[in-house]
């Protein structure tokens, strides 16, 4: 039963995403469209499942949603900050820095979300992964204290992600 389910829905979350995308594309919510979206949401992941072999095992959808809200808020704040830096801080006063973030996360999906979050939020861009995947290289636009940046990242985002990906 479970195996059959997995065969049919290799990536339930993906199916959900696709159904939502379909509905957004159609720009109307009708029973027919949703059904059609679900059908596509099943067929497409199934047809391309060979290219996503090791799907993440556990995933807390609810916590993911709250994480998303936090990040969205941070994005808005971050952008104002960066805009301010760009407009006001002269280049001579700018103090860019490399920040190395040691990673506790192991799942590729989780690390990717973390890296993405870092890029979208205050003054930081995730630049590279170490050769065995234990650290993330982050570039900060303007900071006096790289360690603080690192701790912020680990507390605010990585910790939450560890709860989402069990």
């Amino acid at each position: 039963m479970s195996r059959a389910f997995h065969k049919l829905f290799p990536h339930p979350v993906l199916t959900l995403i696709l159904t939502v995308v379909w509905t957004l594309l159609q720009n109307e919510i009708s029973a027919g469209m949703v059904v059609f979206g679900i059908i596509l949401g099943v067929i497409i992941p199934w047809a391309t499942s060979a290219w996503w072999p090791d799907r993440p095992r556990g995933f807390h959808l609810g916590k993911m949603l709250s994480y998303t809200l936090i990040v969205m808020w941070d994005i808005i704040v971050a952008n104002i900050q960066v805009a301010w830096i760009v407009l006001t801080v002269p280049n001579s006063k700018l103090r860019p820095a490399w920040v190395v973030v040691p990673l506790d996360l192991r799942q590729p999906e989780a690390i990717s979300i973390l890296a993405g979050t870092i890029t979208l939020t205050p003054g930081t861009v995730s630049a590279d992964l170490s050769d065995a995947g234990h650290s993330l290289l982050v570039h900060a636009l303007h900071t006096d204290d790289p360690d603080a940046v690192r701790d912020e990242i680990k507390q605010r985002y990585e910790a939450r992600l560890k709860e989402i990906f069990v």
């Binding site: 993405g116 979208l120 630049a127």
Partner: protein, 128 residues
């Protein structure tokens, strides 16, 4: 009626805000001193600028038309892809030594971009 009025003001505001963010992104692109710092401005500020315009457009569609949430999809695309684009461009800077040498990672040997496989180490300049 008033809701529409407020929303219209909101549209105008979002347009201006979006445009300003876009401009700041472009200013950053011109002004900032090196490749890595320049990366910050457009990938974030610029993206949010376009995001604001998209939002304006979405509201606009509800005020003046049948309404649609298409713009959400575009925004999602932008926000999902921007980090990867930024990541690649950062890798380009690191690879081309167009930025300060990053510090070594604590547990591993080096950063993946600098970890050129053995068979790729030598190269020849093709004479055109």
């Amino acid at each position: 009626m008033t809701v529409d009025l407020i929303l219209t003001f909101a549209i105008a505001a979002l347009l201006i805000v979006g445009a300003i963010f876009t401009l700041v992104g472009a200013i950053g692109l011109i002004k900032l001193p090196d490749g890595m710092t320049r990366l910050h401005a457009p990938t974030k500020v610029g993206t949010i600028g376009v995001g604001a315009m998209l939002l304006a457009s979405m509201i606009n569609s509800y005020v003046y038309g049948e309404g649609s949430m298409h713009e959400l999809l575009i925004m999602a695309f932008l926000f999902v892809t921007a980090p990867i684009s930024a990541n690649f461009m950062a890798k380009v800077h690191i690879h081309r030594r167009a930025c300060d040498q990053p510090p070594a990672p604590p547990r591993d040997d080096t950063w993946s971009t600098l970890d050129t496989p053995e068979e790729d180490k030598e190269h020849v300049e093709t004479t055109a």
